[in-house]
Amino acid sequence: MTATTHKPQSADFAGGGVTLAGLAPWLIAVAFLLVMPFIFTSNSAITIMNQMAITIIFALSYNMLLGQGGMLSFGHAVYMGVGGFVCVHVMNWDGFFSGLPLPVLPIFGGLFGMGLALIVGSFSTRRAGTVFAMISLGVGELIAACSVIIVVFFGGEEGVSGDRTYGLPVFGIEFLQQIEVYYLIVFWLVLSALGMFLFSRTPVGRMANAVRDNPERAEFLGYSARWVRFYSFVAAGFFAGSAGGLFAINYEILTEENLNLATSGTILLVTFLGGVGFFFGPIIGAIVFTLLQTVLSLQTELWALYVGALFVATVMFFPGGLAGVIMMHVPPLVLGKLHLLVKPYIKVLVPGLVCILATAGFIEILFHARHAALGDDEMTLYWVTFSHLNPLPWIVTGGLAVGGFWLARRHAPELAEAWHEANTDRRASA
């Protein structure tokens, strides 16, 4: 038995009340959010940041289920979507909306998202795991399908749209500008993230973890696993609904797309990519995914293929997601051995990256060769223009892919060894 153990990551969450160390990440994040628009001033950048912030709230809400409560949902988009639809209807309710300050609007989304979660949760949280997943899928599909039937509420195929500027001006701000909307969203982002974080520190939030780990044992501690799940589910419904409200404010339109399986699946992907094991995982996931989506989709038609491959690789090799990978480096950091990893990392990651880029290049050429219009054999890849009839690009990308893979593989044992070394505490263990 080793007597000394380093303090794990969760230690400052578990102990004490409000401390400076606990507050610091929040203050830094807020400062960061406030400064961002001064660094990236273009309208398109602000659009991306708005989307990112909404996705963060949605992903955090999703992780209340998956990460904190062990409930895998394939229908979480429904709660965000319904919240959003309600908010658009409020926007269109002339007499009422003109007396309502816009920043309050997401509350309506939240309440209706919560209301729907109350109804669905009453029967879906009886069980976790596979059964819960299937019920969430079925209910999600049911409501998405209803969108073409209940036209009054969902607006059929065109969806419903509104105008956020009809609301009561706040300090003279009418929210005509994207930047004004940005600060509104950031306000809600901080509020919701704090709310969800604090929820996880409450008795029911703690028991959600316990029920996730071992529902049966939790029952023998006096808690009904079902009701613990139910409370998490309802809370997640509220935050998803308020994210929907922000979506309504930002885009001023909601359609069937906001409810369907594709959207629900995307949020699972975002959350898992970021990492379900840590509170900040979904935040990273939302940022990375939004960037990938906007940057990659400009570059290539095949971006969804790459994201899909990345997702499957994450599930198979890094089930902790990006947050898990980051937190893996805390023990070596604490031991002061992080520098041992630098050289092996370069030796593996550089050829690995070359391999991935070259493989993508090869796939792009193949795609072009297969699907381009007849006679259109010119293509541009990595700033080089060539014809796909020329065998050279095929050979170069193929060769680099194989070579990079081979080199990365060759150095992998070295990295594994360095990793082991960096995690061994020579002072404590014999």
Binding site: F123, M134, L137, V312, R370
Partner: protein, 318 residues
């Protein structure tokens, strides 16, 4: 009355098709505890492979070979993918198969493009088999029914009369005991996964020409298949059969008979608000049964879950 018969046949075709998918899904689930979210993707792959083969070798070679390729692919996924994820638990396994479904759809689009492909019924099976009171029953439907029944017969034989079948059956009721069988279990898992996905492949091969072959076909059918096995009770083959047939007939009849909510509401003594397009209840009044046919399975699922949480025939804890 004759129309009823025609619809019974149509619903049977849909039901058997659903069962071909849900049977494989149930087998895999009962054995390994994994719900294969990518199951419908293998069904799609079956259709695409069969199309590609039929271009060169004709429909019948496609029917024969495509399911084998799909099954081999499925076995490979189990061996090199799922088995790796298994250590993390069932939920990550489900997430893995979900990711796989996304990936397969993208790969299919990559290879065959986003549009529907011209995968068609072979010439010999075109035309009508017989007619009932002026409604012709296409020969291809009869072929689908007999092929499905033949496959189920074969499956039943394997399950009840062979040694491998005994092991699988034992695993259905006593998964723990089969775990204790030792070294051959991973192989049985791989085999069951392969056979299950191959069944989905067969369904794809025969459904592709009638339900059209396009990259979204997996999503269209996928959710319904999952709903089917939830209604039937997770892990129950009999339940899957009953639920498949119920859903097949329910949707067919809802589509065939144009029942209107208006009639029902009037019969209940309500008066239709005029003008209807101004009323908040317009969607309720103008509702027709073909409109709701596709959501009936989901409604049924919600009702079943409220009144029978384990499904129609389910008993085992998941």
């Amino acid at each position: 009355m004759d129309l009823v018969l025609v619809n019974l046949i149509d619903g049977l075709v849909t039901g058997l098709l659903l069962f071909m998918l849900s049977a494989g899904l149930t087998l895999i689930f009962s054995m390994m505890g994994v719900l294969n979210f990518a199951h419908a993707s293998f069904y799609m792959l079956g259709a695409y492979f069969a199309y590609q083969i039929s271009v060169y070798l004709g429909f019948w070679m496609g029917l024969l070979v495509a399911p084998l390729i799909v099954g081999a692919l499925g076995a490979g996924v189990e061996r090199y993918g799922l088995r790796r994820v298994h250590q993390y638990g069932h939920v990550p396994e489900l997430i893995f198969t979900f990711g796989l479904a996304l990936l397969i759809e993208e790969v299919v689009q990559f290879i065959w493009g986003k549009d529907q492909i011209p995968y068609e019924i072979p010439g010999i099976l075109e035309g009508a088999a017989f007619a009932i009171a002026g409604n012709t029953i296409p020969l291809y439907k009869v072929f689908m029914i007999f092929l499905s029944l033949a496959i189920f017969g074969g499956l039943l034989f394997v399950l009840t009369k062979t040694r491998v079948g005994m092991i699988i059956q034992a695993a259905l009721s006593y998964p723990r005991t089969v775990e204790a069988l030792g070294h051959n279990v991973p192989l049985v898992f791989m085999g069951v996964f392969g056979v299950g996905t191959a069944l989905a492949g067969v369904a794809g091969v025969i459904a592709g020409p009638v339900l059209s072959t396009f990259p979204g076909m997996a999503v269209v059918l996928g959710s319904i298949v999952f709903v089917t096995i939830v209604i039937g009770g997770l892990g129950s083959l009999g339940g899957a059969l009953v639920a498949s047939l119920i859903i097949g007939w329910m949707t067919t009849f809802a589509k065939a008979y144009d029942m209107r909510m208006e009639d029902l509401l009037t019969w209940m003594g309500l008066t239709k608000p005029e003008p209807i397009w101004d009323s908040a209840w317009q969607d309720l009044w103008t509702l027709t049964s073909p409109q709701v046919a596709d959501i009936l399975p989901y409604l049924l699922m919600v009702l079943i879950l409220i009144f029978r949480p384990y499904g129609l025939f389910g008993k085992r804890d998941v």
